[in-house]
Amino acid sequence: MKRYQFLLQKFAWALFTILFVLVLNFFLFRVLPGDPARAGVRDPRLTKAAQEALRVRFGLDKPVINCFETLNPLRLGDCWVNPLETQFFIYLGNLLSGDLGTSYHTNRPVAAILAERLGNTVLLVGLGTVLSIVIGIALGVVAAWRARTLIDYAALVGSLVAWSLPTFWLGIILLLWGSTQFGLPLGGKATPGLAFASPLEAWWDTGRHLLLPTLTYTIIFVAEYVLIMRSTMLDILAEDYILTAKAKGLTTFQILKDHALRNAALPIVTIVALNLGFTVAGAIQIESVFSWPGLGLATYEAIVRRDYPLLQGAFLLLAISVIFANLFADLLYSFLDPRVQTG
């Protein structure tokens, strides 16, 4: 298979998955018991006129899809309306124009809320991911290289324990410990009401807020990378080409760097991609514990406040980011693996 074919296939698949998520997102919020979409519009805090305006805006006065209520094919004629007038197409149209609805709670556009939250999540998750991958790979390599020694067993058992920690609970414990022992802030992104003399001070303040969430994220994710890296390396180091490298007189460091790690890149990319879904789960839990104003906290707040448009928007954004990140991993894979490049 040529590379462009591979890429094209992956790209088409990602588009199809996004479409699936769009449809799922639409129906979940309309079909499930309780009819959340309508329930939201019937918010008693809104005036009758406002409720009616919302109903029209979201097209809730229109059928969900054509003949949704009547599934009898013989009676299709009775219920058929212009497809563009159905809720599903209105939803798609709104999405295309970037309209994710209005938050029930703050009455602001969901897209705007998500946009300002996205950066914070990228900062936290990005930092944590880089740290956990670097530390995880290093520890995993050392554990595999020194297999069946004390350092290997320590890394293995430590990782298994860390893997078993509920993310939010580790956050709570670190928060309890960090705030009482080191006076670290209890949450948020910036100390409220503080005026900063210089950007440097503002960064320092953000850094202090970022420390514990990042630490939590890193501990949770490092565990998995250590385990994966260790077992991948154990397999690779038993391969014949490692013996060749050793016979060539390469030093242990050269073998690890130029042969083993290079070959381990492939499985690691795959695992990082598979992990992206868990990344989102980690972000939701950590941001909730530390009140870090990102997408995860937005999701949590949306749940607590039954703010369905925000929840729907956050779910869509998270799912689509994971799909894109997966696509990116596939692309990276195709560049790393010569067998994909040249077939």
């Binding site: 928060l175 060539k248 290079r262 839990q285 607590v304 779910f315």
Partner: protein, 660 residues
């Protein structure tokens, strides 16, 4: 199938579980958690439902004699809630994972068994679900339904089946093609019956491991949902306790006792599952004990045994001389009395090579022959000190130009490898790194041993080397998978030549190749030897090849040197019965109609060697002494030795006496 078979299977399985510390620890942890959950009503000091007379002192009261783990925001006993919380958490974990495993198992079995379009559709669907982040999906589903325990179990179960489905599918695919399954299909058994009777039992072990891990994920998911305030507030799980404490001021009061125990409970159960799962997986897929970079067993035995071996050597005949035309050439490599053993815990050491001596002159081509498993490869690897971690050299010397390689430090040895002694490995498919270009891998060897500042010069040398072995230099930028088998083998030879070594050890370089390519590779080796004055050790079990290209031959059997001589002598006057048998087992084109005789039996197991001659159990000429006493190496003629009692002059005399 007899009824006793599953029981004994189970016993064997249980034995391996007991031997695996991780699995055992996990099992014990889970059993303890289960016990706590079941016995909660008897263990709990207070009824978690009953509200106490709450005064302000009772709220978040620290641990005391009355409340071992203090009280929570409602003045309730944390210990009691903790014990009862185990019931909720475990219930959700078990039932939700049951749903996941049943859904995933059915989808995986169906996709794997029916294959084709069914498989395609089901796996594509699984891929889509897999890419949707599961916690947000779970959150949305739970948020949109009523927060009851039943709904939570249902949602967690329905979201978490993808991993199981993929695992079961791949296992089913692997199992489906086994003989008894295809046979059952051929005699017309129905598909559900085949799946239930033949496939499921084989998928089951992996499914059990997987279930353990699914349980731990379900418990983690439940606690997260509860913590985020999405579960049934009347069913107080550990996650729910954490939610109450976190949202009701435990953090600001510093009431760690309300926050630590529930989390500890979750970690306990999840860690128990993780350890059990990890241990079971180790039992099902045991990994090899070591790899190529494992710290090797130290060669402790060497110095002490060398003294004795030197005394021994005085009594033994000198190593065989190469034939006349080579005898003027200087000796490059001299191996004296080399012994190697492999140690494994709980077993006798395997004496893979014992007391082997030979020498190699410049330009000589030495054939090292013998059946598989007779120590040829081990001998070669020990010369470069590349034995796996379980192997160790127990005695001997490897003199390269007079310098004992066994006495060098690892750093000095690394400098010697490839620049002086290079190796062409068996099966070059795996001996070349699949993700680096061939040219890069050749250049790497040069860069390791020489200071190369000029990239263009390095590139030119790589091209020359490839040209030398008949590979178009343009192909240096290609990867091993783009080469044919014969080309890979030639590339490997080019790589071996990269640093102008004095000795090349070729370990069965032609076994995996077809006859035409075989001839090419052999011709290449022979011509390079003439051109470059290389000495070559050629490891093979193909006597025809040896006759064609080698000067001298060393026949190995069961780790010892059975016979060694120049190639004509070996073929025309073999003295050792093993050599004679080996030659009889080999087709000779010149003798039309000659019958091939295979050697009955198998080479000895190296950790259970016969006490006498290692070949005695298969030897047609064996007599009593052969079974009790290992033979010494006897000189038959100049440069011709064999280790056989028949060649002992004393034995010959005794036999003559008996005959008279």
């Amino acid at each position: 199938m007899t009824s006793s078979a599953p029981t004994s299977d189970f016993r064997a399985f249980w034995r391996s579980v007991r031997a695996n510390r991780m699995a055992l620890a996990g099992l014990a942890m889970l059993a303890a958690a289960l016990l706590v959950a079941v016995a909660a009503p008897w263990l709990a000091p207070y009824d978690p439902e009953a509200s106490l007379r709450v005064t302000i002192e009772d709220v978040y009261a620290p641990p005391s004699a009355a409340h071992w783990l203090g009280t929570d925001d409602g003045g309730k006993d944390v210990l009691s809630s903790f014990l009862y919380g185990a019931r909720v958490s475990l219930t959700v974990g078990f039932f939700a994972s049951f749903i996941s495993v049943v859904i995933g198992g059915l989808i995986g079995l169906t996709a794997g068994y029916y294959g084709g379009r069914v498989d395609n559709v089901l796996m594509r669907f699984t891929d889509i679900i897999l890419v949707i982040p599961d916690l947000p999906l779970t959150l949305v589903l739970v948020a949109l339904t009523a927060p009851s325990l039943f709904n939570i179990i249902l949602v967690i179960g329905i979201v978490g089946w993808t991993g199981t489905a993929r695992l079961v599918r791949s296992q089913t695919l692997a199992v489906k093609e086994r003989k008894f399954v295809t046979r059952a299909r051929a005699i017309g058994a129905s598909s559900p019956r085949i799946i239930a009777r033949h496939i499921l039992p084989l998928v089951l072990p992996l499914l059990v491991v997987n279930t353990v891990l699914v349980i731990s994920l379900a418990i983690l998911n439940e606690s997260t949902l509860s913590f985020l305030g999405l579960s049934d507030p009347t069913a107080v799980s550990w996650g729910q306790m954490l939610n109450f404490a976190f949202t009701r001021g435990a953090m600001s009061v510093g009431a760690w006792w309300a926050l630590v125990p529930p989390g500890f409970g979750i970690v306990w159960v999840v860690l128990g599952c993780t350890l059990l799962g990890y241990g079971l997986e180790q039992i099902l897929n045991p990994r090899t004990q070591s790899h190529h970079l494992s710290a090797g067993a130290r060669m402790v035995a060497r110095l002490t045994e060398r003294l004795t071996s030197q005394e021994d050597r005085l009594a033994r005949p000198p190593a065989p001389r190469p034939p006349d035309d080579l005898s003027a050439a200087p000796v490059l490599l001299e191996v004296r009395d080399l012994s190697v053993e492999f140690v494994s815990p709980g077993a006798a050491p395997a004496r893979a090579v014992e007391g082997v001596s030979f020498s190699l002159r410049r330009g000589e081509m030495l054939g090292l022959v013998g059946e598989s498993g007779c120590g040829k490869t081990t001998l070669m690897l020990s010369l470069l000190r590349l034995l796996p971690a379980s192997g160790r050299i127990t005695s001997g010397e490897v003199l390269f130009l007079g310098r004992d390689l066994l006495g060098l430090s690892e750093g000095e040895m690394q400098a010697v490898r490839w620049s002086e002694l290079a190796m062409v490995f068996q099966g070059a498919m795996n001996a070349l790194n699949p993700v680096r270009t061939v040219g890069d891998q050749i250049g790497e060897a040069i860069r390791r041993h020489e200071v190369v500042n000029d990239a263009a010069r390095l590139d030119r040398r790589v091209c020359e080397l490839l040209d030398l072995v008949g590979i178009a230099p343009e192909r240096r930028a290609q990867y091993p998978h783009q080469y044919s088998g014969g080309m890979r083998q030639r590339a490997m030879i080019a790589m071996a030549l990269a640093c102008n070594p004095q000795v090349i050890m070729a370990d069965e370089p032609t076994t995996a190749l077809d006859v035409m390519i075989q001839a090419q590779v052999l011709e290449l080796l022979a011509s390079l030897r003439r051109q470059l004055g290389l000495a070559v050790i050629f490891v093979t079990h193909d006597l025809g090849v040896v006759a064609e290209v080698c000067d001298t031959v060393l026949v190995m059997y069961g780790g010892v040197a059975a016979e060694s001589a120049d190639v004509d002598t070996i073929y025309n006057q073999p003295q050792h019965p093993y050599t004679q048998q080996l030659l009889k087992a080999f087709p000779d084109v010149s003798q039309v109609g000659g019958r091939l005789v295979s050697i009955p039996g198998y080479p000895p197991r190296l950790n259970a060697l016969p006490p006498g001659c290692r070949f005695a159990p298969r030897c047609p000429a064996a007599f009593a002494r052969c079974h009790t006493e290992p033979p010494a190496l006897h000189a038959v003629a100049r440069a011709h030795t064999a280790s056989c009692h028949l060649l002992d002059p004393a034995e010959a005399g005794r036999r003559a006496g008996r005959a008279a």
